[in-house]
Symmetry: C2
Subunit: 256 residues, 2 copies
DNA sequence: CGACCTTTTGATTGGCGTCAAAATCTGTGG
DNA sequence: CCACAGATTTTGACGCCAATCAAAAGGTCG
């Protein structure tokens, strides 16, 4: 439940490394492949962060939006009572910190799960693009729609599903997203992905204590539905896992 | 919890009334006041619906987006097990059905709470505007940001807060939104708003049974924190209500 | 007025949280 | 490369919040 504040984690380890123009790389996540030529001309920097370090905090006015290149990021909110709700996980290929309110204040915090490499873009540039590059704007729009649909699913899960349904859904969703958008993660022979989450992080995402998450996960392991160890998750029986929840592989908000 | 399917409610009572050009009215919610001249030229129709009637269903491909003029709308999702999660309530002045995925399929259902009047816009037009009216596009963007922030709050509530915290938050949020954006709703002398929700609907929004909602609401009444009857809610002690939850009147996602 | 919806109250159950402690894993420095 | 500290996982006992079951009392609308 993460009552305690991040201790060592809270030290801001981020530092923008020297300006580097990475040509042709995944700059704007889902958008770049359409506008690579333009993208590479936008100002951006590579950013390396250690595990468990803060990217930005709720209430701040970030100067950058980020494209995740390596590692997992969590977007979260802290409660006054010291609890933490993880809103979603951003995987390699995802774009984050895109939305602030009109004052430029952001409504959630972000921190790395494992070691990560991000690509930062000046926020002002993004705003310009949205306002002036009419051809890009619909792309953002459809990206929003996908995020919104995910939130709808999460809300339904938290409000109406029990512990194993929620966990099964999270595992399937992350598995699917990681497999589709991060080639380095998926291993077809074991049907496994790189999976850096702790059980406490899973709990904070699905509204359960790490202890209860543990019981459910162990049940899934004993039932030979999943297996996980050393930061890898493999799904042994997709059907049984999907059957536990409302998960429909087909209708998942498609990654790019 | 709404296990049973909407019975009488499910009959589609909607019907588009004759083409009418309402000049200068609230056409596009938060956006129109900037672009009224343009807005009034966009194709749109008035739509009157009875209480508890379906506007559109998840999985359909709506042809229209809607601006709510009167009445409350609920956006919701049904579970395979017959439960219902209300994702959010749309009040007069709100815009809904704006986002579909790339196929045009919408990820939630919508139905009226009480009698309602909506203004419909051809979806294709909206898409055009977003793509081509670069001056409007940022408005949509900032509207999205506001919705997203609300969802972040809801997720945190469902995942980390107990029954009274969630209910207190919902009441305050709806009170605030209704007061600010619907002049006909608020009555300053009693500090009350028009409040058409049943306790079951409240429960489906905050992930509780109507029975438990009832116990909490009664507790709030007996404590003289709120009072409600005949579809009006009045807040007798804002401070105590706000104290129950994380609600910060100041930092609420500002309505237009 | 009668059917149905909504609110209310009580009794009981159960899923998940809390508390506690041991076992295992991880990575960091000597 | 080992040792140790801290993080993470695991297990068990126990308690509580909210669900479930049941039923009565209002309300509302045709």
């Amino acid at each position: 439940m993460a009552r305690r504040e991040l201790t060592s984690h809270c030290r801001e380890k981020s530092s923008h490394c020297k300006d580097c123009t990475v040509r042709g790389s995944t700059l704007l996540g889902r958008i770049d492949h359409i506008h690579i030529e333009r993208a590479t001309r936008w100002r951006h920097r590579l950013l390396k962060l250690n595990a468990k370090s803060t990217l930005y905090l709720k209430g701040s006015k970030p100067d950058f939006a980020y494209s995740v290149k390596n590692g997992w990021i969590m977007l979260y909110r802290n409660t006054q009572k010291g609890k933490r709700q993880i809103l979603r996980f951003a995987l390699p290929g995802d774009l984050i910190a895109l939305k602030t309110n009109d004052d430029g204040v952001i409504s959630h915090s972000a921190a790395t799960i494992d070691n990560a490499v991000l690509c930062s873009f000046e926020y002002a540039t993004i705003k310009d693009i949205i306002a002036n590059e009419s051809s890009v704007s619909p792309q953002f729009f459809s990206m929003e729609a996908r995020d919104m649909e995910l939130y709808h699913q999460y809300l339904t899960g938290l409000g109406q599903q029990d512990a194993s349904e929620r966990i099964a859904f999270l595992l399937l969703e992350l598995f699917q997203r990681s497999r589709l958008q991060d080639a380095t993660s998926y291993d077809a022979t074991t049907n496994s992905i790189h999976f850096p989450l702790t059980q406490e992080e899973i709990g904070d995402a699905v509204g359960l204590t790490s202890i209860h998450v543990n019981r459910i996960i162990n049940h899934l392991k004993k039932s030979k539905i999943i297996s996980c160890a050393q930061k890898r998750l493999s799904i042994l029986n997709v059907d049984k896992l999907a059957e536990l929840t409302e998960f429909d592989l087909q209708q998942m908000p498609q990654a790019r």
